[in-house]
């Protein structure tokens, strides 16, 4: 059985890192991509517009109860946690901050790990805090594949380092390699 979803978490330096990865993906990329980028609670949807203009896949702000579709990247809105349920529908929440963040990477990763189990690809990128480590461990525990940006190549290395310290990750790669690896994994088992 192939992979069914990709989750990506990032903070400081994330806009550039997301661009470098998402720009590589073909318009018919066979899975949904759910993204948490730490944002100020009052920010507008500039990030969504910026990425949507550059990428071949479609990039949108995640909407409540929307079914996650292949070839679409969903970005958590500012001041809401993003989660996914057992039917593959997106859910938002205003629950308390986790790791001082809302949206928090751990919240998305943990719920996605529970839903997709070994059919999930988790990607943790540049960031200046340690959000996402618990979520990556959860993905690993459930049999999913974990990819961490090589801290040496990250604009802010604290987040990838924290994850590498928390558990043994499957891949430690540069941004260019991460894009290629995601495409490669997406191809495995999805070839009809």
């Amino acid at each position: 059985m192939g992979y069914e979803a990709v989750v990506i978490g990032t903070s400081t330096g994330g806009m550039n890192a997301l661009k470098k990865i998402l720009i590589q993906l073909p318009h018919d990329f066979p899975m949904p991509i759910m993204i948490v980028q730490h944002l100020s609670p009052h920010s507008d949807n500039y990030l969504v517009k910026y990425l949507e203009n550059l990428c071949r896949i479609s990039v949108v702000e995640a909407e409540e109860k929307e079914k996650a579709a292949a070839g679409v990247a969903y970005i958590a809105p500012p001041n809401y946690h993003l989660m996914v349920d057992h039917e593959g529908c997106l859910q938002l929440s205003i629950d308390e901050k986790v790791n001082y963040a809302r949206p928090a990477i751990d919240v998305l990763f943990e719920t996605a790990a529970d839903v997709y189990k070994d059919r999930l690809i988790g990607v943790l990128l540049t960031g200046a805090n340690s959000d996402g480590s618990k979520g990556m461990c959860r993905i690993k525990e459930k049999g999913g594949v974990t990819i961490v940006q090589d801290p040496e190549t990250a604009e802010a290395d604290a987040m990838p380092r924290a994850a590498l310290k928390a558990a043994v990750m499957d891949y430690r790669l540069s941004l260019d390699e991460i894009g290629k690896k995601i495409i490669e994994l997406a191809g495995e088992g999805n070839v009809k």
Partner: protein, 283 residues
């Protein structure tokens, strides 16, 4: 037994334990959380578990059954307690600009604030109506299923450290006076002006099991529906539809929509960005 999307092999122990716990709560205390979003309820239960000494949801079950106070602490976890005065200031600004002129044409205004939690947003509306000269002909029904938060709402006393943010929100929301006019500082707390409570009735109401509030001009229910599963969402929006008079306003949270519900065509968008809808005439 009704089959849902859990297939037999797909349900791990934790999910089984959560279902047992929710069923025990329903049988013992009469609160039914089966229609809530499963991913939400799971996170809340696991959060409560992490604050306790119990190792699993199953370990927690006996105390939930035998200790009402413990159950009530769990209940508080289940309700939405993240709120602030003038939360999403742009909503209040739009309400003032677009909805108030319509309300001004009515002799009497009835507002139902469903899921009012600890009351911050109810008092915000009271302040807005007061500044618009509408408060004396308004009646606000503020409801929640949780007695503990309702009690706090009735008191209208909030921690003083929140005032700075609330003052900022108030200004962004188009407040016309000084926010300090509406409270008294008392050590670590602020006590809201008692006159703001004059036209508010706080009442126990559970959206899952209770019925309509008739002939409302406005229903406010912000950031509550996101915690419900689709079926329950549809029921509750139906409840709001039946509670509203024709042309009545439905105000949802800024990331909530009617788009994925069965009632989308029964409302028209009124202030789209702020999720203010209007009940359609003659559907």
């Amino acid at each position: 037994m009704k089959q849902d999307y859990y297939t037999f092999h797909d349900m791990d122990d934790e999910e089984i334990e959560i279902r047992l716990l929710l069923e025990a709560i329903r049988l013992k205390y009469g609160y039914d959380f089966s229609g809530y979003s499963k991913v939400h309820i799971k996170r809340r239960i696991l959060r409560r578990l992490s604050l306790s000494d119990y190792k699993s949801v199953l370990d927690m079950l006996p105390q939930v059954l035998r200790d009402r106070a413990f159950f009530e602490s769990l209940l508080t976890e289940f309700s939405i307690n993240v709120t602030e005065m003038f939360r999403d200031p742009s909503f209040y600004k739009a309400f003032r600009r677009d909805v108030v002129p319509v309300l001004k044409t009515y002799p009497f205004i009835r507002i139902w604030h469903a899921g009012c939690s600890t009351g911050e947003e109810v008092y915000s509306m009271a302040i807005l109506l007061k500044e618009e000269g509408l408060y004396d002909r308004a009646q606000i029904y503020a409801t929640d299923f949780n007695e503990t938060v309702l009690q706090k709402a009735k008191e209208g006393i909030y921690p003083i450290h929140t005032v700075k943010d609330y003052t900022h929100n108030y200004q962004l929301a188009g407040g016309e006076a000084s926010f300090a006019d509406y409270y008294l500082a008392d050590y670590d707390s602020v006590i809201l002006d008692q006159s703001l409570r004059k036209r508010i009735i706080f009442a126990d109401h559970n959206l899952v099991t209770d019925g309509v509030f008739g002939e409302m001009n406005v229903v406010i229910c912000r950031n509550v529906l996101i915690y419900f599963g689709k079926e329950l969402q549809n029921r509750v929006i139906g409840l709001f539809y039946d509670s509203l008079c024709h042309g009545g306003f439905l105000c949802l949270g800024s990331k909530e929509s009617l788009k994925f519900t069965s009632r989308a065509e029964h409302f028209q968008s009124f202030a789209e960005n702020e999720k203010i809808f209007r009940k359609r005439f003659g559907v």
